[in-house]
Symmetry: C2
Subunit: 285 residues, 2 copies
């Protein structure tokens, strides 16, 4: 029976540690600006949680809301203004952007100052993950996964890690972070021909494909570590429930460690956002 | 018995194609600036071949030599001057830099203008490989490997590709390019615990670890494709010979395709440098 990796509790600890550190700061507090475009309900909910978390630990938060019809130029104007605002240490653009701006996402992210790129998703920062630069900003969700491994004393060095999904946001950065931590990383995706072999051989599985319960627990290696990044809403017994990319009930029997959904990686993403804001603040002050 | 992937011949074809295209250019020709620091004999030899290749296809080449005691500032001054020179389309800093500058390599490379980064090794450009940007400049050696696969009709999509070595120069960019081409890529390295299983399962092996004949031909999968990036000088029967990271004689029996050393990836690196220079020229003119 797998040990549950409690992301909610770990995030709580990290927030308590940050609150403690920030409470000793004299003068201005760390500042995070969040920009949200359009009316996507889930996005507004996430932004709300992020702002609430900021206030819990003593980070000042700023928010700009733009309508779904906002132009690229309007959005970049907001980013530029936060770039110049000295009370702002980190700038987060809530994703996904509305359809009209979607194809320009990377170009827009790249207008965030390198030293305020709290989500670590500018092209320049992604390049630093490749060159293993010591001052790379680790994107929040991948960093959250690595932090969970660390806090549960799971050392990926030499181990076979399988990353399912290859998004710029999650899959590829986590593959690079695991590689930098000396894991032997395999990047799998929808075109992978022999997924069942990959799953059977991996010591660590990071599932980030966004498909409800794609991985059956019987298909993984005995004692594998499972980190489930997926959050998928499905209907079950007439109710709307959130499930991961891994079928939790069956995987729990084979894994040595497993993150639940919700309560696993999700809360860690927010905690790492706060952590990155604080780290950028230390560089700015 | 494996089919030999003839890099020398392929490079020759590519150069002929480029020469043809460049001959039709009216006005100024493409220009490549090469900067070399110190007296490393092999580096000077490589720079000589690159300049010779430029002249063969009609690319104007510029060269600056600095002594091994050159400072970071002197080197950056040379780069800045080429950045501003409108007859220069690409700037190549020959690596490795002398010991005194070695640790600053990435920082120095990053002073090359993004639009003259002919080797594709600036941090910003490496980030474009992660985000799969359509205007990424593919680093020359990785691009040469991909071009060999393409010209021998080897489609990596869905296939299991093993990249041995994780340098910023070769290993990591080629892993990203193979991933972008829909291969299932595993990045292996000195810490990999189960190298023999990895070797036995890979459909495509890219060897880039710089250890003479590290991979024995018996350890690979039947009909694997072997791309050998290593060039190692060893002594054999009293003579100095160049060998790859793969033991060619034994691997030839098991592989379906294999690159020889020398005459495999090496000439392709130079051909791709010319190709990238030409592509940058098209953007500048």
């Amino acid at each position: 029976m797998a040990k549950i990796i409690d992301g909610k509790e770990t995030a709580k600890q990290i927030k308590a540690e940050l609150k403690e550190k920030i409470s000793t700061v004299s003068g201005r507090k760390p500042g995070l600006a969040v920009i949200i475009v359009g009316d996507d309900k889930a996005s507004h909910y996430y932004v709300g949680s992020k702002q609430k978390a900021c206030s819990e630990v003593g980070i000042e938060s700023f928010k700009t809301e733009l309508g779904s019809q906002a132009s690229k130029e309007e959005l970049i104007k907001v980013i530029t203004s936060y770039n110049q605002n000295e009370t702002v240490d980190g700038i987060l653009l809530q994703l996904p952007l509305p359809d009209s701006l979607r194809s320009m996402t990377q170009e827009i992210i790249d207008t965030i100052s390198a030293d305020k790129d709290v989500d670590g998703l500018t092209t320049f920062n992604l390049g630093k993950l490749v060159s293993k630069s010591p001052d790379a900003i680790e994107p929040c969700t991948p960093k959250g996964c690595m932090e969970l491994l660390k806090r549960y004393n799971i050392n990926p060095s030499g181990k076979k890690a399988l990353v399912l999904g290859r998004s710029t946001l999650v899959g590829k950065p986590i593959a690079l972070l695991l590689n930098n931590a000396n894991a032997t990383v395999t990047m799998a995706h929808s075109r992978t021909e022999n997924m069942s072999t990959e799953l059977k051989e991996a010591d660590i599985i990071i599932a980030a494909i966004g498909q409800a319960e794609f991985i059956n627990g019987d298909s993984i290696k005995q004692n594998a570590v499972v980190i489930d990044v997926g959050i998928n809403a499905i209907e079950r017994d007439g109710k709307r429930v959130l499930v991961g990319d891994v079928e939790f009930v069956s995987a729990k029997n084979n894994a040595s460690f497993i993150t639940p959904v919700p309560g696993g990686v999700g809360p860690m993403t927010v905690a790492m956002l706060l952590q990155n804001t604080y780290e950028l603040f230390l560089k700015h002050r």
